[in-house]
């Protein structure tokens, strides 16, 4: 589904991502882990077109998509959420999700139609599945952090993606919130048959739900495989898991 080959990116001589390759099979749940500064977010930004790679390629559904614009990738079926919560703060919860539908279904250039009732059912069904239907009329910027993360997921779902890239979906959450939100993500991915690729710092979460784990360290892949293999990998134990003990 997603194939990353020898992706490289440097900032002012600092190599953030240095030749990363991995692939994400359709329907799988895959994680990218690594210590802070390992290049996870940069890698995400390279995949989703927010940054242009210095070298390497990304292909999505068998199609070369390296360096194409985010809005085009989005149309091809790639959805993403951001590490720093990324919503439209002055719009209501409902309008946030609805805007995503309007854009994704290609109605954005309709100049004289009334927007209010457009895609109401679809937006409400997404809000229901992320558990925000009762907050539909609230201004998004005033929601709690956890709710904003749910909303972000809702926006991403409205784009009817085939693959969902989640950058630290539980950043800043309590243990309880983390558990709930992971259950939510897992349930939604299962219900909608989504392929999931996420970065995460909480190891418990990662090993609990992912089928494949790619470990990054200083911009390079040091291990890639099933959770058990990765857990036993000596270098992973040294550079990464070791830090926690």
């Amino acid at each position: 589904m997603l194939e990353v080959r020898e992706l490289r990116k440097s900032f002012d001589g600092f190599q953030a991502v240095g030749g990363v390759s991995f692939s994400v099979p359709r329907g799988s749940v895959s994680a990218i882990i690594g210590p802070n500064g390992a290049g996870k977010t940069t890698l995400f930004n390279l995949i989703t077109g927010h940054l242009r790679p210095d070298a390497g390629s990304v292909s999505f559904k068998g199609r070369e998509v390296t360096g194409i614009a985010p809005h085009d990738l989005c149309r091809l079926g790639m959805g993403r959420s951001f590490q720093r919560t990324n919503i439209f703060p002055q719009l209501t919860v409902y309008e946030n999700v609805q805007a995503a539908y309007v854009s994704h279904r290609g109605r954005g250039w309709s100049l004289f139609e009334r927007v209010e009732r457009l895609f109401r059912e679809e937006a409400e069904s997404v809000l229901a599945s992320v558990g925000l239907l009762d907050k539909a009329g609230e201004v998004a910027g005033f929601l709690s952090h956890g709710n904003q993360k749910q909303l972000e997921l809702g926006i991403a779902l409205a784009l009817e993606p085939e693959i969902l890239l989640l950058d630290e979906p539980t950043a800043g959450m309590s243990a309880q919130e983390t558990r709930e939100s992971i259950q939510l993500i897992e349930r939604i991915a299962r219900e909608r048959g989504l392929t999931l690729l996420f970065t995460e710092h909480d190891m418990e979460v990662v090993f609990a739900i992912s089928q494949r784990i790619t470990v990054l360290h200083q911009g390079r892949v040091i291990a890639d495989g099933a959770p058990d293999e990765v857990r036993r990998h000596p270098e992973v134990r040294r550079v990464y898991l070791g830090e926690r003990h």
Partner: protein, 323 residues
């Protein structure tokens, strides 16, 4: 409530000439045109989050277009007026193509640069624009048929300037209605997402630059229509229509009235022009007073007059419920 009061204001505005004061009609005509100009700018500033310092360029282009067509070629108003919007929109398309490639202050500076180019061309191109002397004596539209009607119905006997006021009112009402539809449309919602968070907008599939360009062209076209009306109202078109001071004036109106609401900028136009007239008759320090008003506004009422009124109204209407 929100749907009806603009209609009431429009109906009330039709009775201004009936007050019998030429001065009030003149002032009202001025306000109505600037209201359209400011509202067009607000599509960029308030709805898309793009601050243009060169909006007067399109106002000027519109004014010259209508003026030139009506005075030099004798084209009737009904063609010369839409032509102003068309040409201004066309220029906005070309200039905007470059402007939307930049962000924030660089965007603002580039809009200003293009506006100054337009001004310089208007100032120097004697054959077409009349250069420094401008283009005086733009004729009024032909109201002969109205005068024939007036001859039969005596109570309709108005001056030509008053007929023009009615025409302005009608045209501006149509334009504002269109703009209102646009901001309430799916397109308008996409612009709001860009204002709120351009990065996220990209990833809900919004081609940010293209939408910004769309907004720029629409805003430019309506500014052009306002300019077309203003040239006739002013009985002449001059290079300073496109000068940067006009751009800043319309920006001040937008901020003063409140860029967060649709009718805020129109309110800003009313307040600013009325204050200007009032204060200039007492003191020569109008710019000083304007500056003071702006400082107070920016610190105390960042949402402008409309924002402050709306906030007050909300607070008042909520109180009985919570008590």
């Amino acid at each position: 409530m929100t749907a009806r009061w603009p209609v009431l204001v429009l109906i009330a505005a039709f009775f201004v000439p009936a007050l019998g004061s030429r001065y009030y009609t003149f002032l009202a005509n001025d306000v109505v045109i600037w209201a359209l100009f400011a509202t067009s700018l607000n599509l960029l500033v308030g709805y898309t989050g793009l601050v243009s310092f060169g909006h007067a360029a399109y106002f000027g282009i519109g004014a010259y277009t209508t003026g030139f067509l009506m005075k030099k070629i004798g084209v009737p108003f009904l063609l010369a007026f839409p032509a102003a919007g068309l040409l201004a929109g066309l220029f906005a398309l070309v200039f905007g193509f470059f402007c939307v490639r930049l962000t924030r202050i660089y965007f603002a500076m580039l809009t200003l640069a293009f506006a100054q180019i337009v001004w310089a061309i208007c100032f120097k191109w004697n054959e077409v624009t009349g250069g420094e002397q401008g283009m005086p004596e733009i004729p009024y539209p032909d109201f002969a048929w109205l005068e024939r009607v007036a001859a039969v119905v005596p109570s309709l006997g108005y001056r030509t300037s008053e007929y023009f006021y009615f025409l302005t009112l009608l045209m501006v009402a149509i334009c504002l209605w269109l703009l209102r539809r646009i901001v309430g449309s799916p397109f308008g919602r996409m612009l709001t997402t860009i204002r709120e968070n351009p990065e996220r907008a990209e990833f809900i599939g919004v081609n940010v630059r293209r939408y910004e360009l769309g907004a720029f062209v629409i805003a430019g076209a309506f500014a052009g229509l306002a300019g077309g009306l203003f040239g006739i109202f002013n009985r002449g078109v001059f290079p300073d229509f496109a000068y940067w001071t006009k751009s800043s004036e319309v920006l001040i109106m937008t901020l003063l009235g409140g860029m967060g609401t649709f009718f805020g900028p129109a309110l800003g136009a009313l307040v600013l022009l009325w204050l200007n007239q009032q204060i200039v008759s007492y003191t020569q320090y109008w710019p000083l007073i304007l500056g003071t008003i702006l400082v107070v506004l920016l610190f105390v009422f960042p949402g402008g007059i409309a924002g402050a009124v709306l906030g007050l109204w909300r607070r008042l209407s909520r109180r009985p419920a919570s008590a």
